[in-house]
Symmetry: C2
Subunit: 337 residues, 2 copies
Amino acid sequence: MLDDRKLAVLRAIVEDYVSTNEPVGSKALADRHNLGVSPATIRNDMAALEEQGYITQPHTSAGRVPTDKGYRLFVDRLSQIKPLSSAERRAIETFLAGAVDLDEIVMRTVRLLAQLTRQVAVVQYPSLTRSSVRHVEIVPLAERRVMLVLITNTGRIEQRVVDLPEAVGDDRIANLRAVLNSCLDGCGLSQVPDTVADIPERLPPEDRPAAATILSVLLETLVERHEEKIAFAGTANLAVADFSAGLRGVLEALEEQVVLIRLLGETGGLSDITVRIGSENPYSGLRGTSIVAAGYGSGDQELARLGVLGPTRMDYPVTMGAVRAVARYVGQILAGS
Amino acid sequence: MLDDRKLAVLRAIVEDYVSTNEPVGSKALADRHNLGVSPATIRNDMAALEEQGYITQPHTSAGRVPTDKGYRLFVDRLSQIKPLSSAERRAIETFLAGAVDLDEIVMRTVRLLAQLTRQVAVVQYPSLTRSSVRHVEIVPLAERRVMLVLITNTGRIEQRVVDLPEAVGDDRIANLRAVLNSCLDGCGLSQVPDTVADIPERLPPEDRPAAATILSVLLETLVERHEEKIAFAGTANLAVADFSAGLRGVLEALEEQVVLIRLLGETGGLSDITVRIGSENPYSGLRGTSIVAAGYGSGDQELARLGVLGPTRMDYPVTMGAVRAVARYVGQILAGS
DNA sequence: CTTGGCACTCGGGAACACAGAGTGCCAGAG
DNA sequence: CTCTGGCACTCTGTGTTCCCGAGTGCCAAG
């Protein structure tokens, strides 16, 4: 059905179109790639490819352009991820190594990725649900008000102000804090609800109302923040050149965190790469936009995802290489801190 | 030099141009505004206004368009801030009231502002230098490693991982924490360096090396994070309609935090509004873009600034009204939490 | 100082022609 | 059966020309 030469033609079309952004014709193909056959032959192959929906012509008598289906085939079977140059690797390493806290790691990562790919980069903060408790702090603010601070092993911090039902002295707060920490230290956030259940019993009866209030806020935090936090950068890359069409939709998607998180998607293995091409992705504003995403994490645990958005006519091998590399390095950095 | 009628003509030109986005001619002006004079008279006035640089014509025989100087005059003398409708006020209040922590306050604020003005909104996080210490926490991570967490009265949290010169037991850490907090509680961040100087003396000699390390990281945090954090939203509003020209520059500015912070600028009084029009602002990418900004804070202390970026041909009275209102409400919310 | 009149300018849209790139198809060669 | 060269055909994009209309500047009269 699709012999090797037809596949080679498709690959050539994708590559040429990506680099020139102009519909590519049979003659140009024959010239630029040495396929060893004449333009006429290529024309026949192109007709076949078009027949099967891999390419299309914007109008009669223009060159061909890959369809989403064509890109899909290209990504799946005709290309391989292009590793970064060693200079780039070093640059990533030193750039990320300078980060002092989680915010900065994420910030730097997202910028790095935007710069490497010259597209819009998106990084999801390490998932709360897959982290564990490193420390819980209760800071007295006023007589009947405390601030609850939760620090996770990924460096993420959540804070809440809690109004207590009654005044609670500092020493009782300290006790509460100690009990909380001894129970929760190292506990996976998803286990917190269970673990927390029997804490009131360990406390003197007079502290239980306050503890209950604090614990309910703690649980609330975990649930509400199930919605994940994300950062993005590189929107200026959208304005460049030929992509004014999709621009609107992409900007809108970026502002809709929910959509964006859905777009990053979830897949199986850590650091295998998801590519969603144009109409494949579940948001109508992104016609003409592709998403290349990967999970990152420390060890073999996926903490969250990151990726880039760009026009369907992007350089997939390079983009995938950059995404993969950045995902790996971020994982390392997180593991090390 | 500029009599009342000429000013009225200028005002009319700005208003018409803002609402239609088309150069406005003498006839249209005479029709839509009852200036009580004929088009010919208006033409003379327009000639005078052009002479003095308040308006300009894109090409011979087109209507007039305000220059930056024209907008400036309009903002300074010909318009007054338009207060929000009470429905809008209520909406703001309820929307902001739902926020649980600083991140969320900022996030909601910036979205709100973007939505109200239909432009790009920018909010600076409460300045570290003008906040004070609410609590300092030292969390043991490993034998020779702790996490330092600084919580300010504005709800902002800074964290750092510190490697200690030697192992320090939990009880000594606790003591250190107690001393630190008793010294620093309520202390303005700008006074921290002075206050911190004599802390080592209060500690047993064997703890001093560790304390010195921690303190130096603390000071470092204050200095480095002098660079402020910002959030923005509403970039999708850029893509709409007629502003594709400035788009590139604005997106670039948004990615350059430093530039952006400079743009928000600093002025005197809390909640008086700064307007920078087109070429007035110190970044060349923003030709054709204006910035409306204001400070916000609790009490009479300016904590930070917020504002919007939009085309010079924006509706200044409305935009200024929205910025002022949002700034006030944010101040209130921060004071209350 | 204001007004109506008038000649002038120029941008933008419509109509048109044209070159060039690209295609599909066909008939002949390997 | 596959490849190739040739050829007629079909478009788009571009450049040209033309004209309309909006808007101006100037002037002379009220």
